[in-house]
């Protein structure tokens, strides 16, 4: 029969072509900048990363997870067995049956893929991706029939040359998509690039339940700062772009996309792919950047990205909320890429849009983004009688005040938190005028030089004093202190303190019985997860526990926890202020309204400012510190319930206050 000799030839050719394509692809990645990865341990860890970590992400969508297990599992298994049966001629009935079984599995999976593609949601890319389920089915069916004679189910020479020709055509189609396409940039590229991407991921800490969210530092002595051309990315970043499956989960979560700002994380990654391979985005078959037509963008490995491939506005629309990264089943690092490109725009071209330049200038000249006199940093606490590190030298807790000190609304949060700290008799002190902006905004705006300078000076200020923990009410400062400052300690030194967000700290205090709280008496309350507390640092529980302690049953929003939507205030987005159709804060407030909440609890001054910027009527916005401070039962020491004697003066005091 023809197939007997044709099949091995076809398979060999397809394999050879696939390998050639892969080598070419690898050479494209290698045009990127060098980055050290542990090569072998990465490869060794890859199956586990794929089967466990990646699966966990995909598992959020049960339908897709099962479909993918069946299809991909079936394909990998059948491919191995096809090589055995049809290329190396293993003649074992059980192997043949196993192959048939794998093909059936793949077929069933492919059927579900097919079903999904009948009426696909807008986030999915069309184009070649619509063809993929058919190719999968064709591959499975063709090999299934071609294997039947070998398994002895059908007689040899069944169907004659007509069937053989049809089968050969089907096999060519199927292998063309699945093998050739894998190396030469078809949808199946994701399998090849994706597995290598998992092996050589830039943030291996993310696997095995870990977290790695701090940005990587820029070498300020380099000849070029930031990413201008696709080849300025690290090679494994380029590899990561190729891993994209265009599932559009990022697009569905992106607040800027939803607000109609010209950003679509999926399109951005695909544009990076266009850039690294050269060409235009004409073949892109997904949602465009809102307001920007598809097909006009052109790029190449050595062409400036922001000239023709991606508009700078796209890069500046990002709020760095990490919703896309959290959602990406291939664990692609969108935010790293965006900040890398921003770094070039800010550090080399000096084209930070709108108020960006002014804010950076202020940070350089006054260590705060609004250009206030740095000597007035402690003015908010004139009546608070705070202990300053310069005087006390040592305290258990360093209260990191952050730039909220200059903002009248944030000062209310700070005062509330101080009240709580005092009520719990915490031994704390502040840095006072020695504190500087954490550098968060500078870093997200791409100005790593200013960030590093601020970080180093903050570190120098902190290392003069002794303390065990830092507590801050600002999740952005929290993130920088906790995850990003370690890179800038003088050699041989490491941060020797724990960094806590105030919700975590207050929760601890409440659990330890250091605070006595009244029941909350207001109406329905919902909680908004700040991105830099939640997705960046995994703190979802403490704020909720604390609200429960206050007797609040949180009415959760649809997008909450790791799927919380950004308030629009991160990443310098309010500073660069790229116009869209809606405001992110308004959309978030609409979601708050859906829960029927009269009050939204937050844990971030930036979120407070953004959400309070929504026109009334809207839910009241309060920081958790304010809620706790309002609920404090004040007394010298926490009152145990048995001790009626002590409780009484408090009750009297409250009555007195009511009369007043």
């Amino acid at each position: 029969m023809i197939l007997d000799w044709l099949l091995p030839v076809l398979i060999s050719v397809a394999l050879l072509l696939a390998v050639a394509g892969m080598l070419k692809r690898i050479s494209l990645w290698r045009a990127g900048q060098p980055e050290k990865v542990s090569f072998f341990s990465g490869l060794m860890a890859m199956p586990r990363r794929y089967l466990v970590d990646l699966h966990h992400v995909v598992e959020r969508d049960k339908y897709m997870s099962k479909t993918h297990v069946a299809t991909a599992g079936g394909f990998v298994l059948s491919m191995v067995l096809i090589l055995a049966v049809h290329l190396f001629g293993v003649e074992n009935r059980w192997v043949n049956y196993a192959l048939l079984g794998a093909l059936v599995l793949m077929f069933v999976g492919a059927l579900f893929v097919f079903k999904r593609r009948l009426n696909p949601p807008s986030r999915l890319s069309k184009g070649p991706w619509m063809r993929l389920p058919k190719s999968l089915l064709m591959f499975a069916v063709s090999f299934f029939i071609a294997t039947l004679p070998a398994a002895g189910i059908l007689p040899e020479n069944f169907g004659g040359w007509v069937l053989a020709a049809v089968l050969a055509a089907g096999i060519v189609w199927g292998m063309g998509e699945l093998l050739f396409g894998m190396g030469w940039g078809g949808p199946m590229k994701h399998a090849f690039a994706g597995s290598l991407h998992l092996a050589f991921h830039r943030r291996p800490e993310r696997f095995g339940g870990g977290r790695s969210t701090g940005l990587k530092p820029v070498d300020l002595t380099a000849a070029k700062l930031g990413v201008e051309k696709p080849t300025d990315f690290k090679w494994n970043q380029l590899l990561g772009f190729d891993a994209c499956v265009q599932c559009g989960k990022c697009e569905a979560m992106c607040p800027a996309f939803a607000a109609g700002q010209p950003l679509n994380p999926k399109k951005l990654i695909q544009d990076m792919v266009v850039g690294l391979a050269g060409g235009s985005d004409a073949k892109f078959a997904g949602s465009p950047y809102p307001g920007i037509e598809v097909g006009k963008a052109e790029g190449g490995p050595n062409k400036t990205i922001t000239e023709g491939l991606v508009s700078p506005d796209t890069l500046w629309s990002c709020t760095t909320c990490r919703a896309c990264v959290e959602e990406c089943p291939m664990m692609i690092e969108h935010v790293d890429a965006i900040v890398d490109m921003r770094r070039f725009l800010t550090l080399e071209k000096g084209s930070t849009p709108n108020k960006g330049a002014e804010v950076l200038d202020n940070l350089i000249a006054t260590d705060n983004p609004n250009g206030f006199n740095p000597g007035s940093r402690m003015n908010w606490a004139a009546d608070q009688n705070l202990r300053v590190m310069k005087d006390v030298k040592e305290a258990e807790v360093l209260f990191w005040v952050s730039d909220g000190a200059f903002d009248m609304r944030s000062q209310r949060i700070l005062r509330a938190f101080v009240k709580v700290l005092k009520a719990a008799n915490v031994d704390f002190a502040v840095l006072g005028d020695e504190e500087r902006d954490s550098g968060d905004v500078a870093r997200r705006l791409g100005d790593d030089a200013t960030f590093q300078s601020l970080a180093k000076r903050n570190i120098a200020a902190m290392s003069q004093y002794k303390f065990q923990r830092i507590v801050t009410t600002d999740p952005h400062a929290f993130h920088c202190l906790k995850n990003e400052y370690a890179d800038f300690y003088p050699e041989g030194q490491k941060p020797d303190y724990e960094v806590l967000h105030h919700t975590t700290f207050i929760n601890e205090l409440v659990k330890a019985g250091a605070l006595s709280l009244e029941e909350f008496k207001g109406g329905t309350v919902t909680y908004h997860d700040p991105c830099y507390l939640g997705r960046y640092n995994g703190e979802y529980d403490s704020p909720r526990e604390l609200l429960n302690e206050l007797g609040i049953e949180v009415a959760e929003m649809e997008r909450s926890g790791f799927r919380s939507r950004c308030c629009g205030g991160g990443g310098g987005a309010p500073i660069t202020d790229i116009p869209g159709e809606r405001r992110i804060a308004d959309m978030r407030m609409a979601e708050i309204k859906e829960t029927g909440a009269e009050l939204v609890a937050v844990g971030c001054q930036q979120c407070t400012a953004m959400l309070e910027g929504v026109v009334e009527p809207r839910a009241e916005v309060k920081d958790i510190a304010e809620l706790v401070a309002d609920a404090l039962i004040e007394g010298d020491a926490p009152v145990s319930k048995k001790n009626g004697k002590q409780a009484k003066p408090n009750a009297d005091k409250r009555v007195a206050e009511e009369i007043l």
């Binding site: 609004n370 903002d407 009248m408 609304r409 309010p574 400012a609 309070e612 910027g613």
Partner: protein
């Protein structure tokens, strides 16, 4: 109102009643209508009877028992304007030359401060000095005497109209030659003083004290480093004085004797003045604007708002909400997240006053709120608030502004 109040002097009344009081006679003498003549007869002076009433009509107080006129002294306001004493300098030993800005042809407050400083220097020094004011072009000032100008050198001629710094400095150079003033004082102002002063200093080779704000004959304290330091130095001959450097003259009149230059100067100006360019108040950057009309959520008729801004000659501003709703461009946004403004007068129309917005207008002198909500924060911040529909008030403002313009045009004609 208080001008009309008759101030009683109980002591004077008491003395008037008490004929045995040692001061009784003296007190009665003053302005008394009846006096005992040299022959012992009582003489009546009808002119001295009564007093001038508030309407300028003579009134006779028939209630003699209430005592003489001293008890019913009128307050200063109702009295005729007092003629201030004339300060004369016959033959000045030296001159202190002041070159006032003459903004709009009149002495500005800054000019008066500088003249006050000139007199202060003369008082502190020895000999009789005279303040010589050098004024270029036609002026409209009528009260040089009360401002403290002893001598006036008015250099006129078409050549000095408009922007003519080179000619002016040449003329001042001639003044230097002819009068050799002890001091040159100029206002350190954007209007003209700074430029003329610097040019003159460079020309005659004097090192000026600039932004001087406390000057005695020995020492001058000047603002340096962009207003962040005080430099104390020996008082130089040429000074550019900051505003409010000294109290203006207000208790004396001065001669304002005209002087002239002996030789006229003729210089060919290199810089050509092509006239002032019309600038739309709306083109002025928000941070620089002096007068801002700002709109918020409460504004419904945007055409009317723009009209009002145009009629009042105000720069337009907006609250964040107005910008987000697309009614105003982003660069018009006032507040902590927009532009921090420094306007002297800020009119907030329909802005309730979010914290960020109030922070952004922290440096504004006078805030006027037009709002329907009396309890909003903007009303608390404002010096004047109108609790009314913004549309109606703006319509009235447009009418008033147009009427005012009309009036000005008519008066000028």
């Amino acid at each position: 109102m208080s001008d009309e109040i008759i101030r009683r002097d109980p002591r004077a009344e008491w003395i008037a009643r008490n004929r045995l009081h040692p001061l009784h006679d003296a007190m009665q003498q003053a302005g008394a209508a009846e006096t005992r003549g040299p022959s012992g007869l009582i003489r009546r002076n009808p002119h001295a009877v009564g007093f001038i009433g508030p309407n300028g009509i003579k009134r006779i107080d028939r209630m003699n028992g209430n005592g003489p006129a001293v008890g019913g002294r009128r307050s200063a306001g109702a009295a005729k304007e007092v003629e201030l004493p004339l300060h004369k300098v016959e033959n000045p030993d030296y001159y202190v030359v002041v070159v006032p800005d003459m903004v709009g042809g009149r002495l500005s407050g800054h000019d008066r401060d500088v003249i006050g400083q000139a007199h202060k220097l003369i008082r502190e020094g020895e000999g009789a000095g005279a303040v010589l004011a050098v004024v270029f072009g036609e002026h409209r000032e009528e009260a040089f005497d009360k401002a403290g100008v002893d001598r006036l050198l008015n250099i006129t001629g078409e050549a000095y109209e408009g922007y003519t710094p080179e000619l002016r400095v040449a003329a001042l150079e001639q003044v230097e030659k002819e009068y050799a003033p002890k001091y040159w004082l100029l206002p350190d102002s954007v209007a003209a003083g700074f430029e003329i002063g610097c040019r003159l200093a460079a020309r005659i080779g004097e090192r000026p004290a600039t932004q001087a704000w406390q000057v005695s004959s020995d020492e001058a304290i000047c603002r340096g480093a962009g207003g962040t330091t005080d430099i104390t130095r020996k008082t130089p001959r040429l000074m550019l004085l900051a505003e409010e450097c000294a109290e203006p003259i207000d208790e004396t009149r001065h001669e304002v004797l005209p002087l002239e230059l002996e030789t006229s100067v003729s210089v060919q100006a290199v810089i050509q003045d092509c006239g002032q360019v019309a600038v739309d108040p709306n083109a002025i950057p928000l941070g620089e604007a002096e007068f801002i009309l700002s709109a918020g959520n409460g504004v419904t008729d945007w055409n009317q708002f723009h009209q009002a801004a145009e009629a009042l000659g105000a720069t337009e501003g907006a609250s964040r909400v107005a910008v987000d709703d697309g009614n105003m461009p982003r660069f018009r946004q006032v507040g902590a997240t927009g532009t921090w403004v420094t306007a002297r007068v800020y009119v907030a129309v329909g802005i309730s006053g979010a914290v960020q917005h109030l922070q952004g207008i922290g440096q504004c002198d006078k805030v006027i709120a037009i709002n329907t909500d009396v309890g909003c924060d903007m009303v608390k911040r404002a010096a004047l608030s109108c609790i009314a529909d913004s549309g109606e008030v703006m319509a009235e403002l447009i009418r008033l502004a147009n009427a005012y313009r009309q009036e000005v045009v008519e008066n000028a004609a």
